[in-house]
């Protein structure tokens, strides 16, 4: 964890600290086995790993959506802006500025795009003028949503739904967005577009981002720091460039390798051995 410490010294105190958490579903299924990570103020941090590695669970532990799925943080602590938040309800967390954009978009299908966006401002009460201003801000970032504002969200395209979901989260005026798999099921071009907007949000609105992503390539391009999860543990972390140039990462997650293509069997064996060690 020296690298994390070094990082912290550069970017100031971390906004979010996840300290050695363990998550158990249904009282028996151990999903996270001691995950620690930090997100600095204004940072974009990527959480990488394969299916079932524990990325979504980590995000849900932070946003506390775990409880509705009978999951529970049994060890460790989660701190946001220096205060423990592990027992806060999602409603309280959104009020404090932590909001999750769930995997698979989860738009409110029967509401129009604009109504979807407005639900994001629920926790802010009835401050009409401010909310209108933010609505225009969201339309500024996502001009496509403005065109489709009166369409039922269920009938918009996957990309538009992803934009709606991100825009909806923005309407809560978050300090930090937990972004789960925004690239899922979208065309590569659209993925680029969405990531570009997310980057601009990060730079212009100062929203910190914790991104869970299977698409390692694009995630490392936009993030400044990354953690690699495997089997409910952090197996590696580092600056985006460091991770991107690491031979193992290249081989397992980016599909590149120094020695040309290897046979699938070799890779599989190697990978298995590595897993046991990790």
């Amino acid at each position: 964890m020296q690298m994390a410490a070094a990082k912290e010294a550069v970017a100031g105190a971390p906004l979010l600290t996840v300290n050695n958490i363990e998550v158990i579903y249904d009282h028996v299924i151990l999903v996270l086995k001691g995950v620690s990570l930090e997100v600095p103020e204004g940072g974009v941090v990527a959480l990488l790993g394969a299916n079932g590695a524990g990325k979504t669970t980590t995000l849900k532990a932070i946003s506390n959506l775990l409880r509705t799925e009978r999951g529970e943080v049994t060890k460790g602590s989660i701190e946001f802006q220096g205060a423990r938040v592990d027992s806060l309800s999602p409603n309280d967390l959104v009020k404090r500025g932590v909001i999750q954009v769930m995997e698979g978009r989860h738009c409110f299908e029967h509401l129009t795009v604009e109504e979807n966006l407005l639900t994001g401002a629920y926790t802010r009460g009835g401050k009409r003028a401010e909310i209108d201003r933010d609505l225009q801000m969201v339309y500024g970032y996502f001009p496509r949503l403005k065109e489709r504002r009166n369409a039922q969200a269920g009938y918009t395209s996957g990309g538009e739904q992803q934009m709606t979901a991100i825009g909806r989260a923005l309407m809560s005026r978050p300090k930090m967005i937990l972004l789960d798999e925004p690239s899922m099921g979208l065309a590569p071009q659209l993925v680029e577009e969405i990531f570009d907007i997310v980057k601009r949000l990060n730079q212009q609105e100062g929203v910190s981002i914790l991104l869970a992503e299977q698409n390692t390539n694009i995630a490392l391009k936009f993030a400044t720091y990354g953690y690699i999860l495997e089997n409910g543990r952090v197996v590696m972390d580092g600056d985006a460039e460091t991770l991107g140039s690491n031979e193992d990462v290249k081989e397992f997650y980016l599909g590149l390798s120094a020695g040309g293509r290897k046979s699938y069997r070799d890779v599989k064996h190697y990978k298995r051995r590595k897993r046991w060690l990790a």
Partner: protein, 311 residues
């Protein structure tokens, strides 16, 4: 020939012969329909906000009416008793959220549905225990004189019922579409978890929606109770609300009203004019047959939300 004659000729001759009577039949049907609509409204509310068919809605109306009568029997004046009963219904909403809904968050709809069946039996028993099981008279001073306009007989009670239903629908429609909480209710109906993720507190939302449904049930209970006495059979009007919902669509407030009116008018006309041909008692099954036809040809009802499926 005789059969065809009875079905397709005689009823229309009857209508042509006595148009004023025909109008009276329609008005009778409309007023019955309004009563169905009032019950159906409560169902729509809870269905919209939680996707759950609330089996206890009829019992809720009975319970509300029983409570109102019970409180009035203590000698409390009607307006105060109304407020107290409304308060009881809100209290009930809190209890339902805490004891029934909260432990079942994120469960299948069918499980929530079954829990409302349990709730129905519980409330029925509770009502009986608290207020007794004999038929009671409810009179909160709704005028019931009949009068004539242009040869058509009208009843003031029917007009009051219609006005009440109309007001309720207008208020609810505005509430659902133009307020923050109304929007949140619809959001919860669409996707519990997503609603939770944007910070909508499910507990509060459920308390609100059950409170509103409880108060709508109170209104329905008052109307039905004043008309036919407060008794156990009141809880069975829920059965009549079911076809109304299928017709109007489970998610549409105006649909509940239109569906109720269509069924009310349909069954009265059927009874009066086609009764001789079919042997009477049409009122008892007309609604269900109509609902069945809707299920086959337009399962989302007249105004219901289509189930969106992207391919």
């Amino acid at each position: 020939m005789g059969v065809l004659n009875e079905f397709f000729v005689l009823p229309f001759l009857d209508i042509a012969e006595a148009p004023l009577f025909f109008i009276e039949v329609i008005i009778g049907g409309l007023s019955a329909g309004v009563m169905y609509s009032l019950v159906a409204l409560g169902f729509v509310l809870i269905f919209k906000a939680s996707g759950v068919f609330n089996f206890a809605q009829g019992v809720l109306a009975l319970f509300a009416a029983l409570t109102l009568v019970g409180i009035m029997e203590w000698g409390v004046p009607a307006p105060v008793a109304l407020l107290l009963t409304a308060a009881v219904m809100v209290g009930l909403a809190f209890a339902v959220e805490r004891l029934v809904l909260r432990p079942l968050v994120n469960q299948e709809h069918i499980i929530l549905f079954m829990s409302t069946i349990g709730l129905a039996y519980f409330l029925e028993g509770l009502g009986d225990t608290l207020w007794g099981s004999n038929v009671k008279k409810l009179d909160i001073g709704i005028p019931e004189q009949s009068f004539e306009i242009g040869g058509v007989l009208l009843n003031q009670f029917e007009l009051v019922a219609a006005a009440t239903a109309g007001t309720l629908v207008a208020v609810l429609a505005v509430f659902f579409h133009y307020t923050r909480v109304g929007r949140a209710l619809r959001a919860v109906a669409d996707d519990h978890q997503a609603a939770l993720s944007v910070g909508i507190p499910l507990k509060t939302i459920w308390v609100i929606v059950w409170s509103v449904a409880g108060i709508v049930a109170l209104v329905a209970g008052i109307m039905w109770g004043s008309k036919s006495g407060v008794q156990f059979s009141l809880s069975l009007i829920a059965l009549k609300a079911l076809p109304v919902l299928i017709l109007g669509g489970f998610t549409s407030v105006p649909g509940a009203i239109v569906g109720g009116l269509i069924i009310g008018v349909g069954e009265k006309i059927g009874e009066v004019y086609w009764g001789p041909a079919l042997g009477g008692a049409i009122e008892n099954w007309f609604a269900y047959v109509l609902a069945l036809m809707f299920l086959v040809f337009r399962p989302q009802g007249l105004f219901g939300e289509k189930i969106i499926e992207r391919v």
